[in-house]
């Protein structure tokens, strides 16, 4: 038992240290890569790096862009994903099996093959470059969330639906008044699961946004990293300050709701 505990502790150190180092590095006035630099020194602490990165990439604007991108995907997933999940779990209609199998198949289609054709279609044919809709479109409905919604709707007792149908309620009102309130935890899980996708996504928004004032934070930070940082006084400090701002929302959400998050993966892992 002792050996296992020590192994886990060592693991936790390896996983957490870079995050600690990110925070320390973002607060250092002078970058200090020596071993003693890993410990905070009061004289070398400053918030200057945050103002520095804010001057170059407009953190506020980038965060709003990340928020709109992520919010759009979450909204799309909640509206269309819940409808689809409910129908797949609770309604008998032609083609249900086909849609279900398609949903599973999608999970293994590698996105990289789709990058080029999606770019040609969305940027060249539909003219959606540098727009939020172009950013959101390929991610609009998260299939994993649809799967989670379906699993939760399946667990509700059938009598509930039969009774409502006998009373003459329409399917839409059954979904809205009865089913959705009963699966609120699933909605939260779906939102969390969907959040980390677009919030952390780099390649797609990088491809389709050239205007700086439309770029989500992941894209503007990486542009800073590849082009501007070479000319900055303390490039690492500024990059790490930006990294902290980008990481903070996802990490905070995850720590607050960690129970939800972990049980999702557990159940989809077991049942999937």
């Amino acid at each position: 038992m002792k050996v296992k505990f020590v192994a886990l502790l060592l693991g936790a150190f390896v996983f957490l240290f870079p995050f600690y180092y990110m925070l320390i590095g973002s607060l250092q006035a002078e970058p200090d890569p020596s071993v003693s630099g890993a410990f905070p020194k009061p004289g070398n602490l400053t918030l200057h790096n945050y103002t520095e990165i804010n001057k170059s990439i407009h953190l506020g604007r980038s965060l709003i862009n990340s928020g709109i991108f992520t919010g759009g995907v979450i909204l799309g997933t909640l509206v269309f994903g819940v409808l689809a999940g409910y129908a797949l779990a609770r309604l008998q209609f032609r083609g249900r099996g086909l849609v279900f199998n398609l949903m599973l198949l999608i999970q293994v289609v590698p996105f990289q093959l789709l990058t080029i054709p999606l770019y040609v279609l969305i940027v060249r044919s539909y003219g959606l470059a540098d727009s939020y809709s172009g950013m959101i479109l390929p991610f609009l409905i998260n299939s994993t969330a649809v799967f989670v919604f379906r699993q939760y709707f399946l667990q509700l007792p059938a009598e509930l639906f039969d009774a409502a149908r006998i009373d003459g309620a329409s399917e839409l009102s059954i979904l809205w008044r009865i089913a959705v309130p009963l699966v609120r935890p699933a909605l939260l899980t779906g939102v969390l699961l969907t959040f980390i996708g677009p919030w952390n996504e780099f390649l797609w928004p990088f491809l389709i946004t050239k205007q700086q004032d439309l770029q989500p934070l992941a894209v503007s930070l990486s542009n800073y990293l590849t082009t501007v940082s070479a000319r900055a006084a303390n490039p690492f400090g500024a990059v790490l300050a930006g990294a902290c701002v980008l990481a903070a929302p996802a990490v905070t959400l995850f720590i607050i709701f960690q129970r939800r998050f972990i049980s999702t993966n557990l159940s989809s892992g077991v049942k999937g």
Binding site: A12, L83, L91, L221
Partner: protein, 298 residues
């Protein structure tokens, strides 16, 4: 309930069709159509044109594929992804199963451990790359700890070490997700089997090998598959950690080359051909892995 002919054709709740329509349209527009379009492009002389312009894009057979396969940068990127997978996949399986197994025991601070393993997975790669650059650059913390043992040239600018460093970075970043998959799988291994093994006098290591490892085999198949697909998707890390697949293409991934050829240099047909080859490659690797990991006993 009376079942009329309409019910037989449309099902009991035809309104279900309306409910799934947005999702089906989404799947068709974002997955099915682009998938077919990628294959189409790869067999045609496809180039960017002004929207609405009528241009001739003749069928060229395998010409794009010949261009791709004879391109040394593409060849190098496929070798790189193999190096990546050879390091990343076994390391991922061993470390995530080991840590999940340790975590599965009744141990103090379980929540703390689970959260700390999961944090890199939920964080944007762009953010974490920043700190890895700081840790692994020539006079970074890792090299100052190693002192005279530090590699020269340093990790990310060394053509032999750049790809392995990326492979280790990705293993570290994704491990939390796989630990959770294994944790779930471990709940399904019957306690009786452990008791039986104990009765036969098997020690802890023996029962791990003979009970745990076969017990979580379906999860291992999934872990190997997901790790392979993630590896084939590699883009952000070579783009940012090694400054665009450097040194001299030693850490370029196929997706990075696909982006350079397809979009930067304006040859979407060549890019699409790289994508098609990459997917065929992933399918082949997945089939081979399935043979080895999948079902040994049946």
């Amino acid at each position: 309930m009376r079942r009329g002919p309409l019910t037989r054709v449309m099902g009991e709740h035809p309104v279900g069709t309306a409910f799934v329509t947005p999702y089906v349209v989404f799947l068709a527009a974002v997955f099915a159509y682009p998938l077919g379009f990628a294959v189409y492009m790869s067999f045609h002389d496809y180039f960017f044109a002004a929207p609405g312009a009528v241009v001739d894009r003749p069928f060229v057979g395998f010409e794009n594929y010949v261009t791709v396969l004879t391109d040394p940068a593409v060849q190098r990127s496929f070798v790189n992804v193999v190096i990546f997978l050879v390091i990343n996949v076994p390391l991922t399986v061993v470390l995530s199963l080991g840590l999940a197994n340790a975590l599965n025991a009744a141990i103090r601070w379980r929540t703390f451990f689970r959260v700390s393993y999961y944090v890199p997975y939920v964080t944007a790669s762009v953010a974490v790359v920043g700190v890895w650059l700081f840790l692994f650059n020539s006079n970074g913390l890792v090299n100052s700890i190693l002192g005279p043992l530090a590699p020269d040239p340093s990790w990310l600018v060394n053509s032999k070490l750049a790809m392995p460093t990326i492979a280790i970075y990705v293993t570290w970043k994704q491990l939390g997700f796989f630990i959770l998959l294994y944790l779930a799988a471990l709940q399904n291994v019957s306690k009786d089997l452990y008791e039986a093994a104990e009765m036969d006098g098997a020690g802890r290591w023996k029962s791990f090998l003979n009970v745990t490892v076969p017990g979580v085999r379906p999860a291992t198949t999934l872990v190997v598959l997901v790790a392979t697909v993630t590896g084939a998707n590699l883009f952000t890390e070579p783009y940012l950690l090694t400054g665009g697949g450097g040194p001299d293409g030693a850490s370029a991934s196929p997706v990075l080359i696909m982006y350079q050829r397809g979009i930067e240099q304006g040859h979407p047909d060549v890019g699409a051909a790289i994508g098609v080859l990459l997917v065929i490659g992933v399918l082949l690797v997945a089939l081979i892995e399935r043979r080895f990991v999948g079902r040994e006993e049946d």
